[in-house]
């Protein structure tokens, strides 16, 4: 039935049958159990993606903007539903899996993503605050003060390097989770991430002023 509480979790699946015959997963079941159960009761899949829809949306929104983000997330969830039988039951958390599929959907909009970064870098470069990379008040490097070169660097990264970098920075995935999401070895994650960060630093010359970045010292 449908919730009417007006919250984000609008659509809820039917309750599983109660009593002795109820072999369905409890509401607190992990993602793996729910994905497995959804093979028999497809509506249970909504419990999985409702858990992660917010994170998916935020990730896609940052990369694509509001309109394409909705399409990408919806397409990704549908794709996940279609291929849920391939879900690795060893993985308790479906978030990396869903974000991996979402990353693939985002890759269908590469041009739009790059365009978003280009627009951002131009807008930021024309702003007065961009006269210096150092925050004039705090004397520190902030995202606000380096928006233009940061966005420009993101645009120039190789697509696969950007995917890894942003899964780490914007989706908070660990290296292992990124490897799982993109179906690549952890070593490849590390090398792509290193390459991406090196590019970023080259675009942000003031970073050498930062004391707590062990890799830039």
């Amino acid at each position: 039935m449908t919730s009417t509480d007006g919250g984000a979790r609008v659509l809820r699946p039917r309750k599983p049958p109660q009593g002795d015959l109820d072999t369905g997963p409890p509401p607190t079941a992990g993602d793996a159990a729910l994905v497995a159960a959804s093979l028999q009761e497809p509506e249970l899949f909504s419990l999985v993606y409702e858990r992660h829809a917010n994170a998916m949306y935020r990730f896609a929104y940052r990369r694509l903007g509001p309109d394409l983000a909705q399409d990408a997330v919806s397409d990704a969830i549908l794709e996940a539903f279609r291929f849920r039988h391939r879900y690795d039951q060893e993985r308790a958390d479906a978030r990396p899996w869903l974000l991996g599929i979402l990353t693939h959907q985002i890759s269908q909009h590469r041009r739009a993503e790059r365009s978003r970064y280009r627009t951002l870098s131009r807008a930021a470069a024309s702003a007065d605050v961009q006269d210096t990379h150092l925050d004039p008040v705090a004397g520190q490097v902030t995202a606000q003060t380096v928006r233009a070169p940061l966005a420009a660097a993101l645009r120039q990264l190789a697509d696969r390097d950007r995917d890894v970098l942003l899964l780490v920075a914007w989706a908070d995935l660990s290296y292992q989770e990124v490897a799982h999401a993109l179906a690549i070895p952890v070593g490849t994650v590390r090398s792509r991430l290193n390459r991406a960060r090196r590019m970023l630093r080259q675009a942000l010359p003031d970073l050498h002023l930062l004391l707590d970045d062990e890799e830039s010292r």
Binding site: V10, P13, Y49, M56, P66, Q70, L210
Partner: protein, 374 residues
């Protein structure tokens, strides 16, 4: 602070204002997933050549749709042939175990419609050329059930291709094939200079009806749209709000506006909001339009006329892809759920002249005393 931290800050700046995914995203995705569920498609044992010439991707769904309409045939009410399918009979060969599109109680029609309103409002459409025409081609099929007294005549099935060229600004004549007719009829447009009445109200002086295809000034709020939809054909005082007749009219007029006319995004959104005000609306997932496309429909039951009316939407864009009517109760030998009328909106576009199709071909307009005379 290092480069990753800076990137995280940038991500925060670029992120959405709200931390939660939009309501319409969840509803739309849910509807698409429900469309994917197995087990709701008809069994089809018909002649596969019916789908000949169609794109491969649409073949299976076309077969399902063919069977959807053919369930009428399976009920021995005759044979339906889809327009353009060289008359091949698919009634007797099709085994329609069950119609697709049973009401899905897990989706709330109000939420679905409000999500549609939000989505539509966020995607403004281009304003058409006022001198142009909104061209719509719809494939239709139906069956006229014979009454008990006329059983010897049997039920009559029919198909039709409806074409309509509706004047964008309403100042020019519009042309369409009404009902089951294959002949073009004319709706006399009202030039602005002769119009003295409000839009959609008969202008006695000009003997015409100002019905622009592009309703630029359509209401943009739910309440105003409800009034507008009621007034569209019945004029002011079109019945008691909330009565069965009023509900039915609002549903039908809202459906017509969405399918064959064009309105600014806020007005189209208001139509969805207006429909959400009707009582006992239902959502039907896995609904199949006549041409095989699947979508999500909203259903309105008119108990008095024993009909369930459905508007079938593309589950992503909320564009109307078809309509259909099914029986609520058994009637004249046909069982509940029988599809008695179905339509698919095949093409909708703005063209420069009446009779001109988007592909450049032309349909000759019939002569009237207004045209064809030297």
């Amino acid at each position: 602070m290092n480069d990753i931290d800076l990137l995280r800050e940038l991500g925060t700046d670029l992120g959405p204002a709200e931390d939660t995914a939009p309501l319409e995203l969840l509803v739309r995705t849910q509807a698409r997933i429900l469309d994917e569920r197995p087990g709701k498609i008809l069994l089809f044992n018909g002649s596969h050549h019916l789908t000949r010439g169609r794109p491969f991707a649409r073949t299976l769904t076309a077969a399902a749709s063919v069977a959807a309409v053919a369930l009428v045939g399976a009920l021995a009410v005759g044979t339906l042939a889809r327009p353009g399918d060289d008359g091949a009979a698919f009634g007797p060969g099709a085994v329609a175990e069950r119609a697709d599109g049973s009401v899905d109680t897990r989706l709330d029609a109000g939420h679905f419609l409000l999500a549609a309103a939000v989505t539509v409002r966020a995607h403004p459409a281009a304003v058409p050329d006022p001198a142009g025409y909104v061209y719509t081609r719809s494939d239709q099929a139906g069956v006229d059930l014979a009454s008990t007294n006329d059983k010897h005549q049997g039920n009559r099935s029919w198909t039709n291709v409806r074409e309509a060229w509706l004047s964008v600004d309403g100042n020019h004549d519009s042309w369409l094939t009404p009902g089951q007719s294959t002949q073009l009829g004319r709706l006399r447009g009202c030039p602005v200079t002769t119009r003295s009445s409000a839009p959609n109200e008969e202008d006695a002086d000009a003997d015409c009806l100002h019905q622009p295809a592009y309703i630029a000034d359509a209401p943009t709020t739910k309440k105003a749209m409800l009034d507008y939809l009621c007034r569209t054909t019945d004029g002011p005082g079109c019945g008691t709000q909330g009565s069965a007749e009023w509900n039915s009219d609002v549903f039908q007029h809202g459906s017509d506006l969405l399918s064959e006319r064009v309105a600014p995004a806020p007005a189209r959104a208001a139509v969805f909001e207006a429909l959400s005000a009707l009582p006992d609306m239902k959502v039907v997932t896995n609904a199949t339009a006549l041409d095989g496309r699947r979508g999500t429909s909203i259903a309105f039951d008119d108990v008095e006329s024993n009909r369930r009316s459905e508007i079938i939407f593309d589950s992503r864009t909320y564009e109307v892809i078809g309509q259909r009517h099914t029986l609520l109760q058994a009637e004249d030998g046909a069982t509940p759920g029988t599809v008695i009328w179905a339509e698919a909106v095949i093409e909708k576009s703005v063209v420069a002249q009446p009779g001109l199709r988007p592909d450049g071909s032309r349909r000759k307009l019939p002569c009237t005393h207004w045209i064809c005379l030297p």
